[in-house]
Symmetry: C2
Subunit: 367 residues, 2 copies
């Protein structure tokens, strides 16, 4: 193999595919990036067997071939080269010689044949969504997936398509996060559970705007994301997700409108007094126009009062403040609306159009 | 005690004194900051028994007194308050009530009497130096102190005053770093060894310009730094420093002038191939006009050639590349001059005026 390309194009491509390099693995080959010039294009690929990423880098192919290089050293090396043309040439022992101006590296490599290629999956009709929107709705919901739950479905997010509507949901035992968006086109009804880890990495690669599209192909066992020069394939999580609709309700006894930044500042202050070993609840006392918060731990006491607009009954209710803080961080509205029913039923934070719905279970407390 | 001050003044003061909070200690009281309003000024103090820092915050003292508060929670709390006036009031049980607008905290405290006060040391004639210069010369030499050496003197830097000359030096078993500066005034001859840890923290607090002065008082067992509203006291290291003058020499057989950034880029590339377990030398082959570098490890091979101006004999010599990189990072000249004598004698990197002198021992290699 012999190829020449610009250092920056190569480095950008490597940064994309390295998201699929596992941080820990017993299989050495998965720590490699595949540099594949078998065709007339230069493909870079990484694959941790759940998530695979392939991207095309514009290059001059002088001699076809492919090689696997240990990703960490190779990527560090490319980053530290001068901003100029880089050439990579392999010998029959799979050693790669990398030349850039007066800099010459030689790295041991492995045969490209050893690399676990991405599965070849026939593409059906894609779902089109903007890169910006997909990144946003992932980041706005992914914090409430369960990372350790034995129920594997909770380690992923549920994506449901119905006509021109897309809903993304995640839940752990304490809260639910939902975003609803409208797609430009309409599609058949379908739903998949995508591993949270894969969605996290995809959100990090997507840096396009509202105009740049992602094409999503849902298949039986995989989902494919095509965008720019990049293809991401992830396995799906098998199983049946919880019936989220059954957990949602429009009933409430108390409706509170509150400035989001003020509430967030206040909750961040309360969190300072929480010990990891001794989880104390944040108590809300909701009266007309006043919203008193109280938290007490071995570290000290916290009290703060905020101005609110309230409808309905007074209520006293308590939460794990970190769960409320997670919601406030991903909502962008100036004011948010909180719906409360009783001290033992979930609170709902949602907008009128239900573009977002966040559900948080309260905790017991002694008043 | 009852005081009122601005949140930002208080927070800035806390950021200064927290540099003397030990990260690990068996004495709880050292994790506290002393808030002392015994006089008509508000003093904040922290003291890890080697380094002590005290700073004055402008405040309204409504009731004299003092209290010790656990620094981490207290500083986090002040940082998270609204930007407004903060009042701190203690009760006879040393609990502190902190109020800022509608936010109210109560923290458990300890009696100010328990705090290890800074030693009271009579001040003699101070040495005057600009904050900017002191910060610079510390940062330009501190990297070569020995952090683990059993010889305690090597854990510190030697500061020598002679007339209007100040020299700061550090050395470990492999290299020496020296900066020489001229002071505005002249002083009696004296020298002290200051713990590296203290100098590091002082360099982090000093953010003044060339016009802002530090007043340094050298005493038998301590050195005091007075600047702005802050006093830093550190214990000195006892013992006799190595005779650095004996290690310096102006002899050379080869003199190389090289672009500093080019050499730094090259050495950073070579370092990528170094394993922590398998320290390979960077070999320099110095010929007329050409400077070839080579490093070979289990990770791969590196070769690069740089353009130089050379006087004297050709030479082949090898170094730990990290030691050369440390020097290049703290020199600001566009070109540096390297003086070499033989493959087994130290290399000198210095300017003509000897404002800086860096000495690095070579390592053995097979050519």
């Amino acid at each position: 193999m012999k190829i020449t390309c610009s250092k920056n194009d190569l480095y950008n491509g490597l940064q994309i595919v390295q998201k699929a390099i596992p941080s820990k693995t017993t299989k050495d080959i998965l720590e490699c990036v595949l540099i594949d010039a078998s065709s007339n294009e230069l493909h870079l690929t990484a694959n941790d067997m759940e998530l695979g990423i392939e991207t095309i880098v514009s290059a001059k192919i002088e001699e076809h071939g492919r090689v696997c290089l240990e990703s960490k050293t190779f990527i560090d090396m490319i980053r530290n080269l001068p901003d100029d043309q880089v050439s990579i040439e392999t010998n029959p022992r799979d050693e790669a010689r990398i030349d850039c101006l007066n800099v010459h590296f030689k790295l041991p490599g492995r045969s490209g044949d050893d690399f676990p290629y991405l599965p070849i999956i026939p593409r059906n009709e894609p779902i089109k969504i903007s890169q910006f929107t997909l990144r946003e709705i992932i980041q706005q919901t992914i914090f409430s997936i369960s990372e350790t739950d034995v129920k594997r479905v909770l380690n992923g997010e549920l994506i449901e398509i119905n006509g021109n509507k897309l809903r993304i949901s995640s839940l752990d035992g304490h809260r639910i996060s939902i975003r609803n968006i409208e797609l430009k086109d309409s599609y058949d009804e379908s739903s998949v559970i995508i591993p949270g880890k894969s969605l996290n990495e995809i959100a990090r690669i997507l840096n396009g705007s509202l105009e740049d599209m992602v094409y999503i192909y849902l298949t039986e066992n995989h989902v494919i994301f095509d965008f720019d020069q990049t293809t991401v394939i992830t396995r799906l999580i098998e199983g049946k997700f919880f019936d989220i609709n059954r957990m949602l309700s429009d009933d409430y006894e108390t409706k509170v409108v509150i400035n989001r930044r003020d509430l967030m500042g206040s909750i961040n202050r309360a969190i300072l007094l929480i010990n990891d070993s001794d989880k104390k609840p944040l108590i809300w006392n909701v009266h007309d126009q006043s919203f008193e918060m109280h938290l007490s731990s071995t570290k000290g006491n916290f009290d703060e009062e905020l101005f609110i607009v309230k409808e309905g009954r007074d209520i006293q209710i308590a939460f794990n403040p970190r769960f409320i803080a997670d919601v406030l961080r991903v909502v962008e509205d100036e004011n948010i609306t909180i719906y409360l029913l009783s001290p033992s039923t979930p609170c709902f934070i949602r907008d009128d159009a239900k573009n977002y719905i966040y559900v948080v279970l309260p905790v017991n407390f002694k008043s």
